[in-house]
């Protein structure tokens, strides 16, 4: 096994709020290897986007602060770098694409200029060469008539085209790691399929490691090699995509998978629900954050954080009922 491109160990991020300290990320660990796609999945507020921002050193501070753990990127700990050093990595070796391509592109510059700017920030090339590189990237992400589109402003393009421009920009400096935060949530399903195909092709061609942040288990199935399921700031289950989807260990993962309305399910049966709502991060107890919503909870669940229990090679879940071997399908 080659050394992972990114290796996050025991990352902790706190936010100081009026209601107290929120443990936005608590003991988060995972790694991604070259050419691998890791999906981080969870509901709003679970910490998946915060994980992405902490890798890039973009946590709003104050109120946020990395209080523990390490983020090893190609052997260097990003939590110890100065902002100036991080700036060289951001957009260069680590690139990110966001959910809403309209608000993440600058409306007053052409698409070509914006990609060329990213290139010139990280590589010593002439403006002309940078623009040529922009056109080449637009072609690589499947934009028809790239010379023409390079001169277009973002509002002149459709949502799918804009997301392709974002991807072209992100890939223009040949990143080792691409973080895609809900990249298709604002897009139609047929366009989403095109973007997925593009990301898949690019990682196979370039060996870029990808972290896909999503709330959609369907997207996980379509794209991921590995999955980390997050709940209330912690990874509660992780493993190879097939293992997690076919044999979920944590009651939350099971609930999440069961509650998806599926085309191939019995439409007359009610959907299994997870009762209640996600807890506020400021008033988590000492125990498992999912316990108040969990049908399998026992008093011991509230006593202490459950440790990850191995279910098979590389597949683990943080549930004490699993430890006692009482969770069965």
């Amino acid at each position: 096994m080659t050394e992972p491109v990114l290796d996050i160990r025991n990352l902790k991020v706190d936010f100081v709020t009026r209601r107290g300290v929120a443990h936005v990320l608590d003991d988060v660990s995972f790694s991604v290897a070259a050419g691998e796609l890791l999906a981080i999945v969870g509901e709003s507020g679970c910490g998946k986007s915060m994980t992405a921002l902490s890798i890039l050193g973009l946590i709003p501070s104050p109120p946020g602060r990395i209080v523990g753990g390490s983020i090893l990127f190609q052997g260097r700990d990003l939590t110890r770098l100065r902002q100036s050093e991080l700036r060289r990595i951001r957009g260069g070796d680590i690139a990110m694409i966001f959910q809403e391509p309209m608000t993440s592109l600058n409306p007053v510059f052409t698409c070509g200029e914006q990609i060329a700017e990213a290139v010139r920030l990280h590589q010593k090339v002439s403006p002309r060469a940078a623009l040529a590189r922009a056109v080449e990237m637009l072609r690589a992400v499947g934009i028809p008539e790239p010379e023409l589109r390079a001169r277009a402003y973002p509002h002149q393009l459709s949502g799918g085209m804009r997301q392709r421009v974002m991807i072209a920009m992100a890939l223009s400096c040949e990143p080792r790691l691409l973080i895609a935060d809900e990249p298709t949530t604002a897009l139609d399903v047929t366009v989403q399929a095109q973007i997925f195909a593009l990301l898949d092709e690019l990682r196979q061609k370039t060996g870029t490691a990808i972290i896909l942040i999503t709330h959609d288990m369907g997207a996980v199935a379509e794209m991921a090699d590995k999955v980390a399921v997050m709940y209330a700031g912690r990874i509660i289950e992780r493993g190879p995509a097939d293992a997690v989807l076919d044999n979920p260990g944590h009651p939350y993962t099971r609930g999440l998978l069961a509650s998806i309305p599926r085309i191939d399910a019995d439409p007359d049966a009610d959907l299994p629900e997870i009762p209640g709502i996600v807890p506020a991060l400021t008033d988590l107890g000492r125990g498992c954050a999912f316990a108040p919503r969990c049908a399998l909870a026992v008093p011991a669940c509230n006593a202490a954080q459950p440790h990850h229990v191995a279910m098979s090679r590389d597949h683990s879940a943080a549930c004490i009922r699993l430890q006692a071997n009482e969770v069965s399908a």
């Binding site: 509901e43 709003s44 459709s158 949502g159 799918g160 085209m161 139609d188 399903v189 047929t190 366009v191 989403q192 399929a193 095109q194 973007i195 997925f196 195909a197 990301l199 898949d200 092709e201 709330h215 959609d216 288990m217 369907g218 997207a219 199935a221 379509e222 794209m223 991921a224 090699d225 995509a241 097939d242 989807l245 076919d246 609930g255 999440l256 998978l257 509650s259 998806i260 309305p261 599926r262 085309i263 191939d264 399910a265 439409p267 009610d270 959907l271 299994p272 629900e273 997870i274 009762p275 709502i277 996600v278």
Partner: protein
Amino acid sequence: MSQLLSVRDLRVHFPTGRGGTIHAVDGVSFDIPRGQTLGIVGESGSGKTTTALAVMRLAPITSGKIDLDGIPISRIEGQELRRARPRFQMVFQDPFSSLNPRDRVGRIIRQPMDLLGLLQPPQRDARVEELLAQVGLRPELKSLYPHQFSGGQRQRIGLARALATKPDLIVFDEPVSALDVAVQAQVLNLIRRLQRETGLTYLFISHDLGVVRHVCDEIAVMYLGRIVEKASAARIFASPRHPYTQALIAAAPSLAPEHRRRGGGARLQGDPPSPVNLPPGCPFASRCPIAVNDCRSRIPTLRELAPGQAVACHLA
């Protein structure tokens, strides 16, 4: 079966201001039997939301007929339309912007009764509590404001407001697309339970095929202002006949083993063309993988291919 809602050749055209015309809805017809649910699926720009708004009389109708239980709602105005309003109500997509942040929840739910003069004023508050209980919220929550609720709870409030007038028809426009999946299941189950208990009729707009499969009896697929396929939910998923329906189903992310790491399942290239100046012929021809010359010159009409399944495709 008696049709509660009947829509015939509905057209909604908007001028663009540059002399062009947007054909948002271009000749749509459907019926919904009492107590049943019709789902309209399609991508952005397909005209599904405009169709819903036209049924609600919230979008200007260019031509066509809409009848609700014998009331010609496409042709009535003023007092007459107002008197008919209690019979058809709507639940919106965004649970944040569709509730007035300055009103307490009790007032939000009571308002349709106040505005339409339903029940004697003293009875309205009791009805509000009844409605809250019906959507699974504690009656004492009526004195809180919308921001004190989660997205799922807010969608329940929107539903209670729609139920306040005891409607026959509820139009849902993407009611769960802003919700997390676990909460989405709670709201979808509630929507289904209300229909079972009260015999409501639903028009249900969504882009999510899994969701419409779960709540709809019949499904209409829209593309660029037209219905391209219509069939029972079971049939449309088992044997879709229009190439667009097929592509839509193929592209829907799924947990099925054959979808694992297939990288999307894209069958269609490009985006839908602009609804401003539609090309002649089939609106789908520019993206269709099997289009022939005829498709680019002649518009296919919706024709019945099998009992209960109609398709607008020359090649189906």
